[in-house]
Structure formats: C-alpha cells, structure tokens
C-alpha cells in the first residue's frame, strides 16, 4: 500500500516538474532498443568476461579423456565422490526437514520466539571462515569445547572427533546444517506466512486440526517451495567448499574431502589444475539434471528466487 502511494506521489511531482515537449516520440522503438542495449552492456560484459570465458576455459581444461581415467582410478577420488554424495543427500534433506519444522515453531509470534528468531538467524550473517574455524577448534584435540563439555557431564574424555572418518564427516554435515538451516527456515517461514488464514479456517470447519492440518493443508501448499529449495540447496551443497575445508580440513588423512576441496588441493597444492577441473566436472552428470529440473520448476510455477 505504502509503496503504491509512494510511487504515485513521486510520479506526480516528476510529471509536474517536467512539462517539456516529447523529444523521442518519433522512432520510439529504435531509440528504446538502443538504450536498452546500452544499459545491458555492463552486465553482458561482466558475464562474458567472468562467467562465459571461465566456463569455456574450464570445459577445455577438463576435456582430455585421459584425465578421467586417472581420476577414477584414484582411490582418494572414489572416497571423495562418496563423501560428496553423503554430504548432499544427508545434509540437504536433514537441513530442509528441520528447517520446515522450525518454520512452524517460529510461526508462533510471541515476543520470545521473535527474539529467538533474531539470534537463530545469526549464523547466516556470519562469515563461514570464522564460524567453521571456531567449530573446527571445538572438535579438535581432547581439549576443545565439546570435549570439555563432555568431560564436565560424564567425567570421562570425549571422543576424538576428527580421528574417525564417520565422525569427522558427521561433524562436517552438522556444521553445514548449523550455518545454512537458518536461511532456509526463514524462506519457509515467509512461505508459511503467505498462506492465507481462510484456508486454515476452511480446513478447521472440515475437521482438519493438529497434525492433520500439517499433513493435508500446510504441506501440500508448501510442497512446491520445499522441492525448489531442496533442489537449489542440493546444487549449492554439491559445490560447497568452506565447510569441509575448515571444519575437518579433510582429516583424517584426506578421508573426508568433498569434490570442491579435492579439486582445490589437486589444483593449488599438488599443481594439477586440469585434474582439479576434471574432479569438478565429474559432478556435472548429477548437477545438470538438478539444474534443469530446478529451472523447469521455477519457470512452471513462476516462483522467483
């Protein structure tokens, strides 16, 4: 409402300020197109120079089939690929489901849930580098904060989190969820709030309440958003770098690398950039279908990101 009033208000002033004769009424179409192209040039230049060229260059770097023979025979790569799949499959789904439940929790708009929401969203604003380093130190050695807490509660030494591969991988996934769940909770919360109350009232009259309301009313209405968010998060998680790089740093013995950190080490520590690119490219068979599905969903439903 206020936006519309603001819009109209400003519009009147400008119209009153500029009572000049139309200059470019003639040849309107041509002039407009020229202007539009002029306005688009900066973005197109950025896109060509820093997206299209690197993408083509990357495809060229990873185009040698011999790279993939080498890649698939590397046992570390196989571990990395499995880790990445686990990271995406578990991390994304647990995160989305919890975010969905928590968005319901935050629908209760009492003063303390509002304040809690403000604090809860903090990880989203903090630099990944900083928080993941902090989480790394919580886990590392027998004297990290988690071990200290463990000792305070049970009186015994805690587990060495970054020595066992499953535990280190779990730590990565939990850290990832810690950082990104607030973001998705907020999106689900916005989606829930845009569901009109009338629908719930109608459902109430039809006898749906409690968990039935969740299953038969809320979830069907949110299903589309849920699917789109899951797809988007999957693609992003597939290429996630900072979580694993800082939290487990691949420990123990590079057994918890994911594709992004594996490619990073290949390219910049061992000096095989083409091998690194090939590792990233090996995600394409999974990524392309996800992106196509995502783009189709977005276009079909008119959801804007």
């Amino acid at each position: 409402m206020s936006t519309a009033q603001q819009v109209l208000g400003t519009g009147r002033t400008i119209a009153a300020d500029a009572p000049r004769r139309p200059r470019w009424r003639v040849n309107l179409q041509g002039s407009d197109t020229t202007w539009a192209i002029a306005f688009l040039i900066p973005y197109v230049a950025v896109f060509v120079a820093f997206v299209a060229y690197p993408v083509v260059f990357g495809l060229w770097m990873g185009s040698n089939p011999a790279l993939y023979d080498l890649l698939f025979t590397d046992p570390r790569y196989v571990t990395t690929a499995i880790n990445t799949l686990l990271f995406v499959a578990i991390g994304v789904n647990v995160q989305m489901f919890l975010a969905f439940l928590l968005s319901g929790f935050f629908m209760n708009r009492s003063w303390w849930t509002r304040s809690l929401l403000v604090v809860y969203l903090l990880p989203w604003a903090l630099p990944g580098l900083v928080v993941f380093t902090s989480i790394h130190f919580m886990l590392v050695t027998q004297w990290g904060l988690l071990d200290s807490l463990w000792r305070a509660v049970t009186g015994q030494d805690g587990p060495l989190f970054l020595v066992s591969t499953p535990m280190a991988m779990t730590a990565n996934i939990i850290a990832y969820i810690w950082k990104w769940m607030p973001f998705w909770t907020l999106i689900f919360l916005a989606a829930r709030m845009s569901i009109p109350q009338d629908i719930y009232d109608a459902a109430e009259i039809d006898g749906a309440s409690g968990y039935r309301r969740l299953i038969y009313v809320t979830f069907p209405l949110m299903a589309n958003i849920y699917l789109i968010c899951t797809l988007l998060s999957s693609v992003w998680t597939l290429g996630d770098f900072p979580t694993v790089y800082f939290v487990s740093s691949g420990a123990p013995a590079r057994m918890t690398d994911v594709l992004a950190t594996y490619g990073f080490h290949e390219a910049f520590d061992f000096g095989y950039p083409n091998q690194g690119v090939a590792a990233m490219m090996s995600a394409l068979p999974l990524m392309i279908p996800l992106v196509i599905l995502l783009m189709r969903r977005i276009r079909a439903t008119g959801v804007q990101l």
């Binding site: 819009v7 400003t10 119209a15 139309p22 192209i37 903090l122 900083v130 380093t133 305070a152 770098f241």
Partner: protein, 295 residues
Amino acid sequence: MSLAVTPGRPVYRPRYRKRRLLSRAAAIAGGIGLLIWTLLPVYNMILMALDADADEFTGNIFPPDPDFSSFASVWNEDYWLMQHFWHQFANSIYLGVATMVLTVLIGSMASFALSRIRLRMGWIVTDFALLTYVLPTAFLAIPFVHIMHKYGMTDSLWSVVAAMVTFATPYAILILHQYGKLIPMELDEAAKVDGASPLQVYLRIYLPLMAPALVVVGVYALLLAWNEYLYQYLLLSSDRSMTVAVAINQFFDSDEAPWNYMMAIAIIYSLPPIAIYFGLRRFMVAGLTMGGMKG
C-alpha cells in the same frame, strides 16, 4: 455457539489446560536448546580469544581469568602475523564497498533494461543470470584464477571485486526484476510523454523508487564479498593486497599457535556483518521474501 459469540478467540476448557502448559513448556525447552545450539560456536570464539595461554588448550568451559589483551594486541598490531591488520581491514572494506557499488550499478542498469524498456530477447539474459545464480561458485574457481592470470589481474583486489560482482549481480537482477513489478509502467510512460529520455527515467524515477530494493541488493553484495573466502585466498597473496579473511588463515601455516590472537581477529572481523545484520535485518529478510519464494 461460544465461537459465534467471541469469534477468533480459542475456547479453553479446563481439561486442556494441562496439555497447553505441557506444550508451552516443551516449546520453551526447545527454544533454549535452539539458543544453545546457535550460540555454542560463537561462545567458543569468545572463550578462545579470552584465553591468554592459547597455544595450549586448557579444557575450560568458562574462561578462568578473562584476558582482553588479545584484542589490544590486534588493535596495536603487535604480533608479526597481524602487523598489517588495519591495512588488511581497510582492504576488506574496500573490497566490500567496491562490490556493493558495482553490483547495485550494473544490476540496476541491467534490470532497468530488462523490465522497464523490455527488450525483446531480454529473457535470454534473465535465464543466464538465473543459471549463474544457481551454479556453485567454487566450481568456477580454478579456471577463474587462470583467466585472471591472462587478464594480468593477479594479486589485485579488483580481481576479487570482479569475481564477487559476477556472483552478486544475478541475484541483484532477479530481485530488482521482481520488485520492479510493483512500480506501474504508466509512470515511465508519463515521463516519456513529458520528454524524459530513458537515462532520465532511470535516474529520476527508477532509482529513487527502487531504493528499498537497492539497499537489499547492496547489503547482499557487501556481505557476499565480506564473507567469501575461496576467491580472496586464491587471488590475493601479497601484504599489499591481502584481506583479513586471508590473514586469518595464515595462522594455520605458522609454527607458533597464538589462537587467542586468531580468534580476536575473527571476532573483530565478524563485527561488521553482525552490525549490518542487526541494523539492516529488515532489508536482509526482505530480500528473501520480496524476491517471492512465495509459490
């Protein structure tokens, strides 16, 4: 019947009271759990920064004798790993602000061309923007570094600005496109009839009316540049161009381990995003809800 008398107010019967209290207690317990879950890593940072003998882990849950000297040391730059701290901090600010300004400028120009002048083939640009937004940035890192060598932009803050603008602009275009739908086209047409050129429409009508969305986009770009690590690490190496994010990671490469200094830097580095979050939270949240995401 009672519903008809007091519409909208739930009717509580005594036997439900116990259940209501229980569910309320459960909600509060969950809330406290959530609070601890969220703040634990943050607390760990403070704990480590306040621990003076931080090269060994002491296993304390509370700081035994809180020591703020690490912050003073960072402030005075009196340790060799942080002797350029304020220069690095200035670099980080420079990087963030340059990204913000360029993203707002390029994004608003592009979205003006796409949604106000309505170029016929504009959807191609929008689709490519969406595709760039969806793709994970780390996958582009290796070829990007090679390209920067070709452009002769290595070890320059502008190479990182270029990367960040590249990744922030698609979001800017999508958000501005969405928000621009709220502004009636009749305004542009009225201005055109009055003789305004598209440039004037852009400067005098589009930009002022889009101001809230421009703030959203600017905050997004600033935080993206501030919180991103990989590209800064790969593209910046000399003392002259290094940012705080890269400097923090240098502590891992050194033989000594003054983790309290490292965490003090990390906390100081987190303050601007925290301040932006608390000050401009409405705009950050609006960026998510305004963009739609409402199916």
